[in-house]
Symmetry: C2
């Protein structure tokens, strides 16, 4: 069985790739094997990669709606856009549910000029100045320029305030290799997609159970934008609203509201 | 007489604006007055700003073709794009004709990672690392992030090499106010459009008589791209070519070639 990639290249089906995705969202090996079997028996011998994704999504959703939502996490975060502010709000909430105290956005005097930092976070005596880099397009990596300017920014603030604020960059995409090297060398904390191992963006989200509102399968762009405009960025915040409030903010019917609440309840934090 | 601005606003004609432009390119007060008179007598009472520009260009060109070319400098530099490399080449030549020695682009080991600098320039014992920021759109200002990342870059290089390289940012557009403040405070040299007074990009160009090839009125985008691909970025370099070379590189007719050479000769450096 051969897979036709988006760039037109053809390669043999790699079952391991499917199993890795299922494992990442916490699915069982049994589920993974079931999906591989389904792909191999129900799809043509030369199959576009999109069709494999579709089968994967459909099967995971049918088996376990919660895992299905989690499969969409990457896309859900990108739907917090187009501006970067909802991601800043969202990341601050993830930090708060991970034991930090977090304040959104703050001005700091530097030796040379005044700077705005997206989030000021503290935990156990350490103080962090967080720069959030939101990219709506997943292909866009944060590059070394980001790491360099954030370092210079925090340096300028520290010089003025005689402080040891630690720089922290949070992004919903990946970091280029040299940006990772530079950040590691200069002591800049990075939170990115799949990086660093065990403390990546998706790790923090799953550990804190802080899912973005945009993960609800029944939601639309318009519904999300309306909720975000009212600072409802977490599924948890959504669940705190009454049905009347949801309908008023998002303009949905009573029936649609029920669907959304059912989906949100599946992801209700167990805290 | 009223001027209709691009954004639709209407304001009274400010004669001083026309006189300032003429003075900047080295035109006489007599020429400036003549143009103001022409604008006031030949244009309608409510006139789009573009029509005033056109009259200004036409009159300057008719009076003095060299000044006419200089009027186009801003646009000519933006035509060095779409990529940033021709501007780097061009700026290095401007530096060379301003008494610096300049080398294009170089890799430097930093404390943390390796960095590429667009130009390495020296003069009288001082060593500069230049970052060129080319913007094809004039509205786009270089912002403080640029100043911050260039500072961090040179800092990393200096720490590794125990050197005192001076950071230098050259751009064809303007700098935001806080970028200027930060650069001044951190000792970053800036060369931008109209900044700093007396040593701005257009000042350096006029003093060194280093006009970009894209300033020739008879040139087209295709001709310029072909010449630039062969590293002919200065009018001066163009004048070193034979007619046969010009025709071969740019693919123009003998007649067109004559026009271009005539225009280039008007701008021939007097060195």
């Amino acid at each position: 069985m051969f897979v036709i990639k988006k760039n037109g290249e053809i390669e043999p089906l790699q079952e391991e790739k499917i199993k890795t995705v299922v494992a990442r969202i916490g699915g069982s090996l049994e589920l993974a094997n079931k999906i591989v079997e389904k792909v191999k028996t129900s799809l043509p011998d030369r199959v576009p990669v999109e069709l494999i994704y579709k089968t994967l999504f459909d099967e995971v959703h049918r088996e376990n709606p919660v895992l299905g939502c989690k499969l969409n996490l990457k896309k859900a975060i990108s739907e917090l856009g187009p501006t970067g502010f909802p991601f800043e709000q969202y990341f601050a909430k993830v930090l708060e549910h991970s034991g930090y105290s977090a304040v959104l956005p703050m001005l700091f005097e530097g030796k040379c000029v005044q700077h705005e930092m997206d989030v000021y976070a503290t935990k156990g005596g350490d103080e962090y100045l967080v720069e959030c880099k939101f990219h709506q397009y997943w292909q866009k990596k944060s590059d070394i320029k980001t790491a360099l300017y954030v370092y210079a920014k925090v340096l300028d603030i520290n010089e003025k305030n005689k402080k040891q604020f630690k720089p922290w960059i949070a992004t919903n995409t990946k970091f280029s290799m040299d940006a990772v090297d530079y950040s590691h060398c200069q002591g800049i904390k990075i939170t990115a997609w799949k990086h660093p191992l065990g403390e990546s963006l998706e790790n923090l989200i799953e550990k804190s159970n802080c899912y973005p509102i945009t993960i609800l399968p029944s939601g639309t762009r318009e519904i999300f934008q309306r909720l975000i405009a009212e600072h409802v960025v977490l599924v948890e915040d959504f669940l705190k609203l009454s049905k009347e409030e949801i309908q008023k903010i998002s303009g949905v019917s009573a029936e649609k509201c029920e669907y959304l609440l059912q989906e949100a309840n599946l992801l209700r934090p167990t805290r």
